[in-house]
C-alpha cells in the first residue's frame, strides 16, 4: 500500500489546506532574498509537560472508518492507534520533521541479511495484551496474515505486504489451511520476514499497522473494530459507533518497555459526530480547555484563518509542515513535448494557486515534491520562479514554432473549492498561451481511480504524503514518476504517465539495488531530478497544518505524517 496512509494523509493534506485567506501579517515563514521560501517553523504548544492524569476530549466530525489495525490505511486511525496498539517499529513524530523509525515491540529496528532479502525482529520481553497475555511472534504473524484478506478488509494496508515474498497468499479466512511462508516465527520472540527484493526502508514498513499483534482467538473479523485488543497504553472502555469512544489505561502496559509514548492523560474521550464548524468554534473560543481535534486541518474553516493570530488563540495553535505535497500532473501522452510542458509550468501563477489553498499559513510553494529532510536528498532546481510568479515571456518563447494542443482538460476532485479554483487559475494562465482549458469535476471518492484510468484528464492535481517512509526519497519518487512492476511502462500511481526508456529503466533497476536508504536516496533523487526537468509534473504546494487546542492542553504537536495532534505525547493540565 503505498497508499492509503498517503491517500489518507494526502486526503488530510488535501482537505487540510482548506481555508481561504491570502498571505498577510502574522503569517509564519519568511522569504529569502532570492524569493525562495524557508521552511515554515513548527510550533509545539506548551512542550516539556510531563504530569500524568486528566482527560482529553477529542472532537471529531465523524467516526473512524475502523479501529482495526488490519483494516486501516488512514493517518487518523494510525494516530489514535498509537494509543491502543504497538507495532514492531514505530514512526516517532517530531513536528516539522519526517518521523524517525524507532523500535517499539521489537528490541531494535530489525536485522537485515547480507542479500537484503531477510529481516529479523526480536520482541521485547514483558510486552502484554490488555488481558495480561504475553504478546508472541505468532500474534504478530497473525496480524500480518489478516491484512492479506483484501476481500474482507478493503482498506487493509498493503505496503508491507507488497514487499513480502508472499506468493498468492490471500489471508487466513478464505483458505484457513494456506500458509504465509514469507513470515516465520522460529520461536515466541522472533519474527522473520522474507522479501521479494531488497528494501532499505523495511523498518518503516514494519511500523505500519500490519505488524500490530492480533490474538487469533479474539479475531472477530470485521467486528474486530468494535474492540481491538490493546497492546498499547490505553484500551477501549466504551465505543458507541458514530457517537463516542472512551479510552482508559491498559493496566498491562509496561512503560518500561515503551519509551516512545508518554501516555500522560488517564483517559481520552472522543466525540464522533460534531460538525467541523462547531469544532473550530469551540476550539477558537476555548469553550472546552481540555479539547483537541483530529479533523483535517484542525477542523478550521475558511473564515477562521484570521482568528489564528488573535492574542487569545495564537499560543494555542500547534502547527507544522507536513510531508504532503500537491502537484499538477500533465498527461505526457497528450502533452508529449517537454518544452510545451515546461511552457505550461512557466505560465502558471503558483502564487495565485497558493491563495486558493488558504495562503502561507496553509502551505508553501515548492520546486519539487521531495524535500531536504529526506535521506540522501539531492537538490533539483527547476526553472520555475521559487516564489511562484509566472514567467510568461519565457513560456511564449518556448512555444514559438511548436505544434501543441490548443485545448486541454483540467480534472478536479469535487470535494473542495481550492481544487476547482486551482483549475480556474490554470484556465486563466493558459489562455495567455492560446490554450483553452476545460474544467472537469470528478467525484472525490473515485478521483484517483479516474486519474489512473483512460478517463484521465490532461491536467490534474495529485497529492502525495511521503508513502511508506516519509523520510525516504524512494517512497515518494517511485510512486510519483516510477515505472510499473516489470519496468515496461509507467507505474499505476504515476498519473502523468511519465515513461522514459533510460530514466525509467534506471528507476526500475534501483528497486533491485541493495544499499543504505541514504545511498539509494541520492540515486533516486538524481533520476527523479532528470525526470522532473522534463516537466511531467508541476510542483505546487507543500502543506502546512494548524490545529487549535484548549488552554489546558500540553505537548501539542502536529505530526509530519499524521497531519494532526500527535496523541502519543499530548498531555493535559488538570
Amino acid at each position: 500500500m503505498k497508499t492509503r496512509t498517503r491517500a489518507l494523509a494526502l486526503a488530510v493534506l488535501i482537505a487540510t489546506a482548506a481555508t481561504g485567506c491570502a498571505a498577510g501579517q502574522n503569517q509564519p515563514g519568511t522569504a529569502k532574498p532570492g524569493g525562495s521560501v524557508t521552511d515554515i517553523a513548527a510550533h509545539v504548544v506548551k512542550s516539556g509537560f510531563n504530569a500524568k492524569g486528566g482527560n482529553i476530549n477529542v472532537l471529531m466530525s465523524s467516526d473512524f472508518q475502523t479501529l482495526d489495525p488490519g483494516n486501516s490505511n488512514y493517518v487518523q486511525t494510525a494516530n489514535v492507534g498509537q494509543l491502543y496498539y504497538r507495532t514492531l517499529t514505530m514512526a516517532k513524530e517530531t513536528a516539522g520533521q519526517p518521523p524517525t523509525i524507532v523500535p517499539d515491540l521489537a528490541t531494535d529496528t530489525g536485522q537485515v541479511s547480507k542479500d537484503g532479502l531477510t529481516w529479523t525482529f526480536t520482541l521485547q520481553e514483558g510486552v502484554k495484551f490488555e488481558d495480561g497475555r504475553p504478546i508472541t511472534s505468532a500474534d504478530i504473524k497473525y496480524g500480518v496474515e489478516r491484512t492479506f484478506a483484501q476481500d474482507v478488509f478493503t482498506q487493509a494496508p498493503q505496503e508491507l505486504n507488497a514487499a513480502l515474498d508472499a506468493g498468492g497468499y490471500k489471508g487466513p479466512y478464505k483458505d484457513p489451511s494456506a500458509v504465509l511462508k514469507a513470515v516465520e516465527t522460529p520461536d515466541e520472540r522472533t519474527v522473520v520476514f522474507h522479501l521479494k527484493k531488497p528494501f532499505a526502508e523495511f523498518p518503516a514498513l514494519a511500523s505500519r499497522s500490519n505488524t500490530a499483534p492480533v490474538p487469533k482467538d479474539k479475531d472477530t473479523r470485521l467486528d474486530y473494530t468494535n474492540h481491538p485488543v490493546s497492546s498499547g497504553p490505553y484500551m477501549v472502555e466504551t465505543y458507541n459507533r458514530g457517537k463516542s469512544l472512551k479510552l482508559v489505561r491498559n493496566p498491562h502496559w509496561d512503560p518500561a518497555t515503551d519509551p516512545n509514548r508518554t501516555a500522560l492523560p488517564d483517559t481520552f474521550s472522543f466525540s464522533l459526530s460534531t460538525s467541523q464548524a462547531t469544532i473550530s468554534q469551540q476550539l477558537l473560543a476555548n469553550s472546552d480547555p481540555n479539547a483537541i481535534t483530529l479533523d483535517s486541518n484542525g477542523a478550521l474553516q475558511t473564515s477562521d484563518s484570521a482568528k489564528l493570530a488573535d492574542a487569545q488563540v495564537k499560543d494555542r495553535v500547534a502547527s507544522g509542515l507536513l510531508g504532503c505535497n500537491d502537484v499538477l500532473s500533465l498527461n505526457t501522452e497528450k502533452i508529449s513535448d517537454p518544452d510545451v510542458r515546461k511552457a505550461i509550468a512557466l505560465a502558471l501563477d503558483r502564487q495565485s494557486i497558493l491563495v486558493q489553498y488558504g495562503g502561507r499559513r496553509f502551505g508553501e510553494i515548492t520546486q519539487t515534491p521531495l524535500n531536504a529532510k529526506m535521506r540522501g536528498y539531492v537538490a533539483q532546481e527547476l526553472e520555475l520562479d521559487p516564489s511562484g510568479k509566472p514567467k510568461l515571456d519565457e513560456a511564449k518563447k518556448l512555444l514559438e514554432g511548436k505544434t501543441y494542443p490548443k485545448s486541454l482538460t483540467f480534472g478536479y476532485a469535487n470535494n473542495r473549492d481550492a481544487y476547482k479554483n486551482t483549475g480556474t487559475v490554470v484556465q486563466q494562465n493558459l489562455k495567455a498561451l492560446g490554450i483553452d482549458v476545460q474544467l472537469v469535476p470528478i467525484p472525490a471518492p473515485n478521483y484517483y481511480s479516474i486519474m489512473a484510468s483512460d478517463q484521465l484528464p490532461d491536467i490534474g492535481r495529485s497529492g502525495w504524503c511521503g508513502g511508506a517512509d516519509p523520510a525516504s526519497v524512494r517512497t515518494s519518487a517511485d510512486p510519483i514518476l516510477g515505472p510499473n512492476n516489470d519496468g515496461t511502462s509507467y507505474g499505476f500511481s504515476n498519473t502523468s504517465r511519465y515513461f522514459d526508456p533510460q530514466v525509467s529503466r534506471a528507476m526500475f533497476e534501483l528497486r533491485n539495488t541493495s544499499g543504505t536508504s541514504e545511498e539509494l536516496g541520492r540515486k533516486w533523487s538524481e533520476e527523479f531530478g532528470k525526470a522532473l526537468k522534463t516537466y511531467p509534473i508541476i510542483p505546487l504546494i507543500r502543506s502546512h497544518t494548524n490545529s487549535v487546542v484548549g488552554s489546558n492542553i500540553r505537548n501539542a504537536q502536529v505530526g509530519y505524517f499524521f497531519g494532526g495532534i500527535d496523541l502519543s505525547i499530548v498531555g493535559v493540565e488538570h
Binding site: 490505511n73 476481500d151 478493503t154 478464505k174 459507533r241 463516542s244 466525540s271 459526530s273 460538525s275 468554534q281
Partner: protein, 333 residues
C-alpha cells in the same frame, strides 16, 4: 375507513419499492464507485475487484437489488465468501464505510432528528398559527402589519443565516447556551429534560423562524377568507359569542390548509433537516445522509431515502384522515 387505510398502506408499500428501486438504480448508474473509493490512491484493478467482492458489488445489479429487498423481510448473510456475517431482520445492509448494521445507524440517528423535529414543530405551529390568527383577527391594524412584515422577513431567511446568527449571538458572544452535544438525544436521558431543551433550543428557533413565517401567512389568509364566509356571518347573526365563532367555527374550517402543510413538513423534517443538522451539529438522519452520500455509502443512503419517503407518505395519509376530523365538510367515501 378501514378500506381507505388498507388501500393507502398498499400504495405506501408500492411507493417504497419504487423509491428503493430508483435510488438503487441511480446509485448504480452514477459516477461514484464505492469499490474504488474503498482503496483510494493505490486502487489497482485487482484491489478494486477484491473490494467489489467485499462490498457484495460483484453480483449483477438485479441480484444485488433482490438481495437487498430480501433483507427487508428476512435475515440474510453479508460479506465475502468465508467471512460472511448475519444481518438480522430488518436487514438494511451494512455500511460500506464502517461495516455497521444500517439499522443501528438509523436507530442511533433517529432520536436526534425526532428531538429536533418535535420541539421545532411545537414552536412553529404555536407561533405560526397563533400569530396568523392574531393578524387575521386584527386585519389592517399595526399588529397585523408587523406580523405580516416579520413573516416576510422570516420566510426569506435561509437556515444557514438564521442558524449561524443564533450560534454567534447566543453561544459565541453571550454564552447563554452551550454548543450542541451529541450526548443528549432525548428528554429522558441522564441529563434531564431541561438540558434537552437547552441543547435543541437554537435549532428549534432556527426552524421555527423559517417555518412559522409560512404558517403565519397561510393561517392569516385562510382565516380572513373563512371569516368572510356565510356560515360565519350566520353564526354571528345567531348571537354566538365572538370566541365561539372564532375558534369553534372559524378556526376549524380555516385551519385545513395548515394541516396539509403541517403533514408535509413533518414528513420532510423527519427525513432529516440536512442544513439545520449540519449547522447545529445534530447527528440525525440528515447529518448522516450527507456523509453517506458524499462517501458513496449506498446502504445508508438507501435506508435514509426510504425512511424519508416513508415519513412523507405516512404524513400524507395522516393528513387525509385529519381532514375529516377537523373539517366536517370533508367526507371520506
Amino acid at each position: 375507513m378501514i378500506r381507505f387505510i388498507l388501500r393507502r398502506s398498499g400504495s405506501l408499500i408500492l411507493l417504497l419499492i419504487a423509491v428503493s428501486f430508483i435510488t438503487f438504480t441511480l446509485f448504480q448508474l452514477g459516477p461514484a464507485d464505492p469499490a474504488s473509493a474503498a482503496c483510494g490512491q493505490e486502487c489497482t484493478p485487482e484491489r478494486v475487484a477484491e473490494a467489489r467482492v467485499a462490498l457484495g458489488m460483484d453480483q449483477p445489479f438485479l441480484v444485488q437489488y433482490a438481495d437487498y429487498m430480501r433483507g427487508l423481510v428476512a435475515p440474510r448473510m453479508i460479506g465475502a465468501p468465508g467471512a460472511e456475517s448475519v444481518c438480522q431482520w430488518p436487514c438494511l445492509g451494512k455500511s460500506f464505510q464502517t461495516n455497521e448494521d444500517v439499522s443501528d445507524i438509523i436507530g442511533r440517528s433517529l432520536p436526534y432528528t425526532l428531538s429536533m423535529a418535535i420541539g421545532a414543530l411545537v414552536l412553529w405551529t404555536v407561533s405560526g398559527v397563533g400569530l396568523g390568527l392574531l393578524a387575521a383577527l386584527r386585519k389592517g391594524s399595526a399588529t397585523d402589519k408587523f406580523i405580516v412584515g416579520a413573516a416576510s422577513v422570516g420566510v426569506s431567511l435561509p437556515i444557514p443565516v438564521t442558524g449561524l446568527f443564533l450560534l454567534l449571538v447566543f453561544v459565541n458572544q453571550l454564552h447563554l447556551l452551550p454548543f450542541t452535544t451529541n450526548e443528549i438525544a432525548s428528554p429522558l436521558g441522564p441529563q434531564g429534560p431541561w438540558a434537552w431543551v437547552l441543547n435543541y433550543l437554537l435549532p428549534w428557533i432556527a426552524l421555527a423562524v423559517l417555518f412559522s413565517a409560512s404558517y403565519i401567512r397561510v393561517t392569516r389568509t385562510n382565516m380572513i377568507e373563512t371569516f368572510g364566509e356565510d356560515f360565519i356571518r350566520t353564526a354571528r347573526a345567531k348571537g354566538l359569542a365572538p370566541r365561539t365563532v372564532t375558534f369553534k367555527h372559524g378556526v376549524r374550517a380555516g385551519i385545513t390548509p395548515v394541516v396539509t402543510m403541517l403533514g408535509m413538513d413533518i414528513g420532510l423534517l423527519l427525513g432529516g433537516a440536512v442544513l439545520t443538522e449540519q449547522i447545529f451539529s445534530v447527528p440525525g438522519l440528515g447529518f448522516t445522509a450527507v456523509r453517506a452520500a458524499i462517501s458513496g455509502d449506498l446502504p445508508v443512503t438507501m435506508a435514509i431515502t426510504m425512511l424519508a419517503a416513508f415519513f412523507v407518505i405516512v404524513a400524507n395519509v395522516v393528513v387525509d384522515l385529519a381532514y375529516a376530523a377537523i373539517d366536517p365538510r370533508v367526507r371520506l367515501q
